[in-house]
């Protein structure tokens, strides 16, 4: 008996997460039905949705639920933990896809019933279950002990499936995609502007931040003057900083009439990129300095003693060895910028933030969702990209993963 008991372990957090997902699904609305764009909707639970969806969907969801349950039991058996976690990963992908497709199908069917005016949007139950599924998948990935590269690939597959569902029209009945159908041109223009702002900010930050970080490393006394300044910028709320820059740039534009001619003026792209760059500098500069200063002194000293010039030492030894740390700074910088760029819409820089605020001010939540989802996806991509890059950079620097 004692030996049999020892094969069982305490129920892991994964079990609690998946059980939570089922509880949420049972009690919260999966989608909401509204008679038109502006009225608030009425919740529909998973069971109501399944009722209209037909026997095939019911059987499918039931099978997934039973399979998940079996895997959860298996997870409590020590010898099967890894296999069960892997199976749960697969089941979670299919679960997420199935729920999304199911909602989409329900939306298509009911909007034809309602004569095209009705709005069916994803509701609290759906979003919370997605969140719980994300947490559960992260937990399961840890249990499988997969490499960062495979984890990135897993997320890519999840995302590709969802994008596939969107592009084949399976979700066209959902309200956010109806918004998209109406505002397709605006959406892609805003998306392009968003990317444009991010790219400009990243470029400018790197051009300023990398040399600045190196300079601070070489002259540590500079750190005392520069870091308080950069820290101060971080404490200013973004909206306030944008506002401040409008005033400053407008004033500069009056002093130097050439500046507005070059597009540097109080509102629009210039203050947005400027403010975002100011925010981005701290994480980048700090990571460059940290990356360089964590190098063992013996390495730089013997580099010098071998007769490497300062330039050779920097490019051949210091920079490659500091690269993984600098990467982590770049990652923080980029993800922060992707999010903050949304706020830049307030000073007329455009981007997805413009759509988001339009939706907020006209209480069209579907439009907000349409603008926010690409921002989340972009952040996700950035995260996965840097995760893969960091894993690879550890190989370049000849070190095992810490």
């Amino acid at each position: 008996m004692a030996t049999a008991m020892s094969h069982f372990s305490k129920p892991p957090s994964l079990v609690i997460l998946v059980l939570a997902a089922w509880l949420l699904l049972a009690n919260l609305p999966l989608v909401s039905l509204a008679p038109n764009r502006l009225l608030s909707g009425q919740g529909q639970s998973l069971w109501q949705v399944l009722e209209t969806a037909g026997a095939l969907w019911q059987a499918g969801i039931l099978t997934l639920a039973v399979a998940l349950f079996v895997c959860l039991v298996g997870l409590c058996l020590q010898n099967w933990q890894k296999h069960c976690a892997a199976l749960i990963l697969i089941l979670l992908v299919f679960g997420v896809w199935a729920l999304t497709a199911l909602s989409g199908q329900f939306a298509t069917v009911s909007s034809t019933h309602m004569g095209g005016l009705g709005r069916i949007s994803l509701s609290s139950g759906f979003w919370l279950v997605m969140l719980v599924a994300w947490l559960a998948a992260n937990d399961a990935l840890r249990r499988v002990r997969t490499s960062t590269l495979w984890a990135s690939l897993y997320w890519l597959v999840v995302l590709a499936g969802l994008l596939g569902l969107i592009s084949c029209g399976a979700l066209d009945g959902l309200s956010s995609l109806k918004e998209y159908a109406n505002r397709q041109e605006d959406f892609w223009r805003a998306f392009g502007q968003h990317i444009h702002i991010i790219a400009l900010t990243t470029g400018v930050t790197m051009v300023i931040g990398l040399p600045l970080g190196v300079a601070i490393h070489r002259h540590p006394s500079w750190a005392k003057r520069i870091f308080p300044l950069l820290n101060l910028v971080q404490t200013i709320p973004s909206i306030a900083l944008f506002g401040l820059l409008i005033a400053v740039l407008a004033w500069l534009g009056k002093l130097f009439p050439l500046l507005p001619a070059w597009g540097i003026q109080g509102i629009g792209l210039a203050p947005a990129v400027l403010a975002l760059t100011l925010y981005s500098l701290l994480p980048l500069v700090r990571s460059v300095r940290e990356g360089l200063s964590q190098l063992p002194q013996a390495v730089t000293e013997s580099g010098k003693a071998m007769g490497l010039s300062n330039n050779q030492l920097f490019w051949q030894v210091e920079l490659p060895l500091a690269f993984p740390v600098i990467l982590s700074g770049l990652k923080v910088m980029l993800i922060q910028t992707i999010g903050l760029t949304a706020v830049a819409a307030l000073i007329g820089a455009g981007g997805l933030g413009a759509l988001m605020f339009e939706g907020l001010f006209s209480s069209a939540l579907d439009l907000v969702v349409l603008a926010v989802i690409p921002i989340v996806v972009l952040t996700w991509f950035a995260e996965a990209f840097f995760m893969a890059l960091t894993a690879m950079s550890h190989q370049w620097t000849g070190r095992v993963k810490p």
Binding site: V299, P320, W396, G398, R399
Partner: protein, 320 residues
């Protein structure tokens, strides 16, 4: 090869090296020794300008070191330190080839040289060339460090406590190897250590420092036989002066003809210090001696150990 004339160096108020006069001849193995903070490391690092001297003149190969650019000077000098400082992102092969690459040697010449050095330091190239530093033991890393210092066949090798961080067995092994390499290539070596036994074993000349000043400069036997003052005696280890002196001679030097001795035979290659131990362990005053190959050589008398040792001409002792 290296000539210090009235050289001084201060860090703020602290005088690290005071009015140093020292010359290192071609092919000499000079060990700088002293308590920590005595100026020995500063002296070493002034040679390749990792530390710039304040006053006086340092010459390398007849020219003042400030006539060279630091890079040119350093590429002509090998450098190995206690913490090794291998480049962690480069393979063993690439690490060793650092200076030859800086000197723009042709690729195949670098490859051949790296293989030669790996062989010399008993790291089979097929096994070690492609490894990264973190895949090596401490002793192996230090071997690679020494190989890297030797790579471009420098005129002089500077070493700052190269074996300080190693376990005693590995340290002795590498000391013997360094001695072998020195005998083989008759390279000029300047080494810093605080281990007096290491200094006595390796050096042609020991230079003793205290508080930034040179206290005594001479062969190991000179220093053991005529310590300049009480500080030197204490540093050498007052109680072991005689034993350490015996450590410098070999059985071969006091070998006598005769085959009357009883007891277990000792080898002609043993140091007199080891022979003394054998006398005591075996409780004999005369012991039989055999050659390296095991053939009979003669005998050693305990009373002969009381005679003064002679400074050997040039090469001293046997590395094995």
């Amino acid at each position: 090869m290296i000539q210090f004339d009235n050289v001084s160096k201060a860090y703020g108020d602290r005088h690290a090296v005071i009015d140093l006069n020292l010359s290192v001849g071609q092919g000499e193995f000079v060990v700088l020794i002293g308590p920590s903070g005595s100026g020995k490391s500063t002296t070493l690092r002034m040679i390749n300008r990792l530390v710039e001297h304040d006053r006086g003149r340092i010459r390398f190969a007849g020219r003042e070191i400030r006539d060279f650019t630091p890079e040119d000077l350093r590429r002509r000098m090998g450098y190995a330190i206690q913490s090794v400082g291998l480049f962690p992102h480069w393979t063993v092969e690439k690490n060793i080839g650092t200076v030859p690459r800086l000197l723009a040697w042709p690729k195949n010449k670098i490859g051949a040289r790296v293989h030669e050095l790996l062989e010399l330091l008993q790291l089979p190239p097929s096994e070690f060339a492609k490894r990264y530093p973190h895949e090596l033991s401490g002793g192996q890393q230090q071997r690679v460090g020494v190989a890297r210092a030797l790579a471009a066949d420098p005129e002089i090798l500077l070493m700052d406590e190269p074996f300080g961080a190693l376990d005693p067995v590995t340290r002795i092994l590498l000391q013997r190897e360094l001695k072998r390499i020195h005998a083989l290539a008759s390279k000029t070596i300047v080494m810093v250590t605080h281990d007096i036994d290491e200094a006595l074993f390796l050096a042609d000349r020991v230079v003793l420092f205290k508080d930034g000043r040179l206290v005594q400069d001479g062969s190991p036997l000179d220093i053991l036989s005529h310590p300049a003052n009480d500080f030197v005696v204490d540093f050498l280890g007052r109680a072991e002066l005689g034993i350490k002196r015996l450590g410098l001679g070999s059985v071969r030097e006091f070998l006598r003809a005769g085959d009357q001795a009883r007891g277990q035979a000792i080898s002609v290659d043993l140091s007199l210090r080891e022979a003394l131990s054998a006398f005591i362990v075996q409780g004999q005053a005369v012991l039989p001696v055999v050659n390296t190959n095991g053939s009979f050589a003669g005998e050693l008398h305990f009373s002969d150990l009381l005679q003064p040792l002679q400074n050997p001409p040039g090469d001293r002792g046997d590395p094995t």
